[in-house]
């Protein structure tokens, strides 16, 4: 099918190349340089989809991202919902269809790459229209680092949609010249197809670059399809232009009704006529130029309907010369048609002579004036001011680092825009510390300035016929009408923010670019207030829609969050370990043998630790080196027990509380020297504890001579556990006396392991399992070799690697709590039954004063206990509630506590659980109940230590 509305010449398109595409099932062609919208119009297609609420046909209203109606679903090359046809650049093979408001996400993952990139500049210029180009050039010639972003595929902005002269050059060519000069200037980055969508604090601007969207099927898979630029600018110049504003009238939503300036853009940029016969409805001079240009291009322009009492005489005369009738003081009161407009009803305004008439047309071009694009200025916390001549909000007071230039200020003539661009570029460069050299010479604009000021008209006056549905659409995408606005004000709403939420106007993909100002005007009119007293709704990012894929960038899959691994990780992977996430760490969960399920593997691993020898990777434990004369004193404040009394060579378990007295961490403290300790933390709290130490040292006790240094990853830590652990260690550490006398529980020794040419090691006799155990520490570099040596040495004892699940079972059998599992920031050491670890003698430690608060001494506090299900086969779910009765009373059911840990024990040959229970310590021996599904499982309360209460195994 031939593109019947494509003119034989003109437009910035490549006519030698045909692009095939399919829309709503129909095959058509367009050209490189087209948008989907311009290609559709070239093929005579105006109807895109149907409206979200009323199912009315909707077309193309604007030529750019402000378009409220041309929502399409891309099907090929990859499904993407809710794009506007006016912003989709055409490519070969595109398959799309119009949408009734909502689209469909792909069910399979998007194969495209997306990424982000930081860029820093002295001056950021948003918008490469006439003002922006001159601003950028001015700043760049002064040597500033300049970034220019523009949402179109080429520089020029509004100049792309006109055909005027700047000096000797056609304005489009002038823009291309400047852009080329900028691209060739070192330190200047020009980004086209890039929309600045968010302005934040301190010169931070986010911009989305559509890098390969326009290549369609030819987009290289290796290239990021879209990039989020994270721009940090010392100064920003917003040259964001203006959007044409429609006027609201009955049946103003029919396909074929379009903004006049956009029709002019379709003509000059794409060589497309929007139809065969047009009526132009305007409140200002600019639409006359559209009418004249279209008539000159061969369109039958029947009439210009100007709401102003008098028409601009020169422009009107030029219209008359082309056979275009001009009706001043008239308005369009309504339209006829179905999938396309067929007639416009024209009538005089009160006070104007004339008769209503109906003009047949397939195109109705509308102009109600221009709204400066103040979105980004508003996001930058700029205040807006109502300009009653423009009928629009314009930037108010200037900001220290954000300037506005061009039609974004409300300036509507090219000469002013150019001058403002130069001034803004100059001022921005100066403010960023540059003195522009060589003033940019401004071209002389051939465009005439307006003859008459525009008239502010939100809607065509007139009442709705009784009982008739309101078709005076304010927000075409949300199907919101004048009546909806009046309903909001009628309900008592006065704030525009409230009206917006009540009516949903401005909440669609276009965020009200063509409807927001009109809504403000209608509300002010209805309330009888001045618009200067109305606060416009706050503009928020993003300026145009941004996909989540683009925001996620490369932070997907394995790069979504760092997986921290230990030096031993490759061995765990090779041995088929399953992993558990602990914070960002990957920790082996258990090491199943062929055919084993988790329960079987864990029971086997537990048995090995209790009966033979086993080892695990403990490298993730936090380790902090503390040095300084006051290190002992400092630890006395941090831990509940006394660390300063610890002898060199010995180790002590410690509990750490917040100032509120609640447990925040626990671990061991090793005294390396008089003035040096090594502190271990739980895996998840390593960073927190270091920060906690630094906080006290730097902000509260800077006089203390203590320095804290993280050495977590310097060490590989391997607990070697079980009755045969001593035998294995003895073989590998020939210089070390591993006997109980020489190397007792809670002491440490430095030695050299018989691995390779000898590996220095620090061995700590500590136990988190309740068994005889040695914690072997070597530098992370040697971790793998030492682990393998331990495995080899222990083979004759059946040495068994185990994971975190077995570790949990073993420690739970001993009643050792895990901070963050048994505790939740409401648990004191006393609640855990650890009064033995809380010093009574120390004058103070962090949390001590809170331990004496009445609340923390209530007898009914939740306390850690063991629970043994009466049926030893039942494993209780962690998190289950504990109740006191064998029958549930009517709600609310008094809850006594909850299960914190629950396992199957090889050593006990039964299941068991740990729980925090009200007055738990007093309830030992009682029977309580745990609701599991529809059952109430009876459990017996016990002490939390269930295995080897005397500690004979550990100490032997």
């Amino acid at each position: 099918m031939s593109a019947t509305f494509r003119l034989p010449t003109g437009g910035l398109i490549d006519r030698d190349t045909a692009l095939r595409f399919t829309f709503n099932g129909r095959s058509m062609t367009g050209h490189p340089g087209d948008t989907l919208a311009s290609a559709l119009l070239a093929n005579g297609v105006h109807a895109i989809g149907t409206s979200v609420k009323y199912g009315r046909p909707r077309g193309i209203v604007a030529a750019g991202s402000e378009d409220p109606t041309s929502l399409v679903q891309i099907e090929q090359p990859f499904p993407e919902p809710m794009l506007t046809a006016t912003t989709v650049e055409l490519y070969d093979g595109l398959v799309a269809h119009g949408l009734p408001g909502q689209g469909r996400l792909a069910s399979e993952p998007d194969p495209a790459r997306y990424d982000a990139k930081h860029v820093h500049c002295d001056v950021l210029v948003v918008g490469a229209g006439p003002a922006g180009l001159v601003a950028a050039l001015t700043a760049a010639r002064g040597g500033a680092r300049v970034v220019v972003v523009d949402e179109q595929n080429q520089a020029g902005g509004a100049l792309l949609g006109t055909r005027e002269y700047l000096g000797e050059r056609l304005s489009q060519d002038w823009a291309a010249d400047i852009a080329a000069e900028l691209r060739n200037t070192p330190g200047v980055l020009v980004l086209d197809r890039t929309t600045a969508f968010g302005v934040y604090q301190d010169g931070f601007v986010l911009a989305l670059q559509r890098r390969t969207d326009h290549l369609g099927f030819d987009a290289p898979a290796d290239a990021a399809r879209q990039r989020v630029w994270r721009i940090r600018a010392k100064q920003t110049v917003l040259a964001t232009g203006a959007h044409e504003r429609p006027v609201v009238f009955a049946d103003n939503d029919r396909p074929g009704i379009m903004l006049a300036g956009s029709a002019r853009t379709f003509l000059h940029r794409y060589g497309v006529l929007p139809g065969t016969r047009a009526v132009v409805f305007t409140t200002d001079d600019s639409a006359y130029r559209a009418a004249i240009d279209l008539a000159r291009a061969g369109m039958d322009v029947a009439m210009v309907v100007d709401a102003r009492p008098a028409a601009p005489s020169v422009l009107a005369a030029r219209c008359s010369a082309r056979g275009i009738q001009v009706r001043a003081g008239h308005v369009v009161t309504g339209t006829e048609g179905g999938a396309r407009i067929t007639d416009a009803h024209v009538a005089p305004l009160p006070g104007t002579e004339g008769n209503p008439e109906t003009v047949d047309c397939d195109t109705l071009l509308v102009s109600g004036g221009w709204n400066p694009v103040v979105h980004l200025f508003s996001q930058a916390r700029g205040t807006l001011r109502y300009d009653s001549e423009l009928g629009a909000f314009v930037p108010g007071e200037e900001l220290p680092t954000v300037r506005v230039a061009g039609s974004a200020t409300g300036a509507l003539d090219l000469t002013s825009c150019l001058r403002q661009g130069r001034d803004a570029g100059h001022a921005a460069a100066l403010a960023a510390g540059f003195a522009p050299v060589g003033e940019v010479e401004l071209p002389v604009s051939g465009a005439r300035t307006d003859e008459r000021p525009g008239m502010v008209l939100w809607r065509v006056p007139g009442e709705l016929r009784e009982g008739a549905p309101d078709t005076r659409f304010v927000d075409l995408q949300r199907d919101a009408t004048v009546s909806d606005v009046l309903r909001a004000t009628g309900a008592g709403l006065r704030s525009l923010e409230h009206v917006k939420r009540y009516t949903t106007i401005g909440t669609a993909h276009d965020q009200g670019k063509t409807s927001g100002m009109i809504t403000a005007g209608l509300v002010a009119e209805e309330l009888g207030v001045e618009l200067s007293e109305q606060r416009p709704t706050t503009f928020r990012p993003p300026y145009t829609p941004v996909s989540f894929a683009a925001l996620a960038g490369r932070d997907r899959g394995e790069l979504h969050d760092p997986a921290r691994v230990t030096a031993l990780h490759p061995w765990h992977v090779a041995r088929g370990a399953l992993f558990e996430d602990v914070g960002q760490w990957k920790r082996p969960w258990y090491f199943p043998r062929t055919g084993e399920d988790m329960d079987t593997a864990v029971l086997r691993e537990c048995r090995a630790a209790r009966e033979g020898v086993a080892l695990m990777d403990g490298s993730t434990l936090g380790k902090i080196d503390l040095q300084g004369r006051d290190a002992g004193r400092f630890l006395d404040m941090l831990y509940t027990n006394k660390m300063s009394a610890l002898k060199v060579g010995r180790i002590r378990y410690g509990v750490m509380c917040g100032v509120d007295g609640m447990v925040i961490d626990d671990g061991t403290v090793i005294r390396l020297a008089e003035d040096r300790f090594l502190v271990t933390t739980t895996t998840g709290n390593a960073a927190m504890v270091l920060d906690w130490m630094e906080e006290w040292l730097q902000t509260e006790w800077p006089h203390l001579d203590v320095y804290a240094t993280s050495v977590t990853e310097h060490w590989a830590t391997i607990p070697l556990v079980g009755p045969r652990s001593r035998d294995v260690l003895a073989e590998l550490a020939p210089d070390l006396d591993v006997g109980n006398e020489a190397f007792g529980f809670m002491t440490w020794r430095d030695t050299v392991l018989d691995v390779g040419a000898g590996v220095p090691a620090r061995v700590c006799r500590i136990s988190f399992s309740g068994e005889l155990a040695y914690e072997v520490n070597v530098t992370a570099w040697h971790g793998l070799a030492v682990w393998e040596a331990l495995m080899a040495e222990g083979e004759k004892y059946g040495i068994t690697p185990y994971g975190t699940e077995t570790m949990h079972v073993l420690r739970a059998e001993k009643g050792y709590p895990i901070v963050g599992q048994e505790t939740d920031a409401t648990v004191t050491p006393q609640d855990l039954g650890m009064s033995w670890a809380v010093s009574k003698k120390k004058a103070d430690f962090i949390g001590k004063r809170s331990h004496t608060r009445a609340e923390n001494n209530r007898p009914d506090r939740k306390q850690l206990v063991g629970l043994l299900p009466v049926d030893p086969e039942i494993q209780l779910p962690e998190g289950a509630q504990v109740v006191g009765t064998d029958r549930l009373p009517d709600p609310p059911v008094p809850m006594l506590g909850h299960i914190t840990s629950s396992y199957r024990s090889a050593a006990l040959d039964r299941t068991f659980a740990l729980a925090v229970v009200r007055s738990g310590h007093e309830r030992v021996g009682e029977t309580l109940y745990v609701p599991v599904g529809d059952d109430l499982v009876p459990v017996t309360v016990t002490e939390s230590v269930l295995y080897d209460r005397e500690g004979a195994r550990r100490d032997g």
């Binding site: 934040y200 916390r381 920060d691 906080e695």
Partner: protein, 99 residues
Amino acid sequence: MQLIPCPWCGPREETEFHYGGQAHVAYPQDPAALTDEAWARYVFFRDNPSGPFAERWSHSAGCRRWFNAVRDTRTYDLLAVYDAGEPMPDLGERDEVVS
């Protein structure tokens, strides 16, 4: 993404910092001597002004130094940064609300 001016490293993105709450809340000299209420005030109560607020920040992903900053809670603007232990600088009258 706000920039926070680390006194040592200069302005860095806020993600490099940890917030430490209100500044100039000293650990009591002798907690045991305090009434329950006085102690609870230290532990649980903090100011929540609309306007300038002296806060503690740590450049946790950078030099790990704690410092104090005066931040206007209405605008997030950081009005001053100063060393931990220094008194809050006099910023003069700052009543204007910018929003």
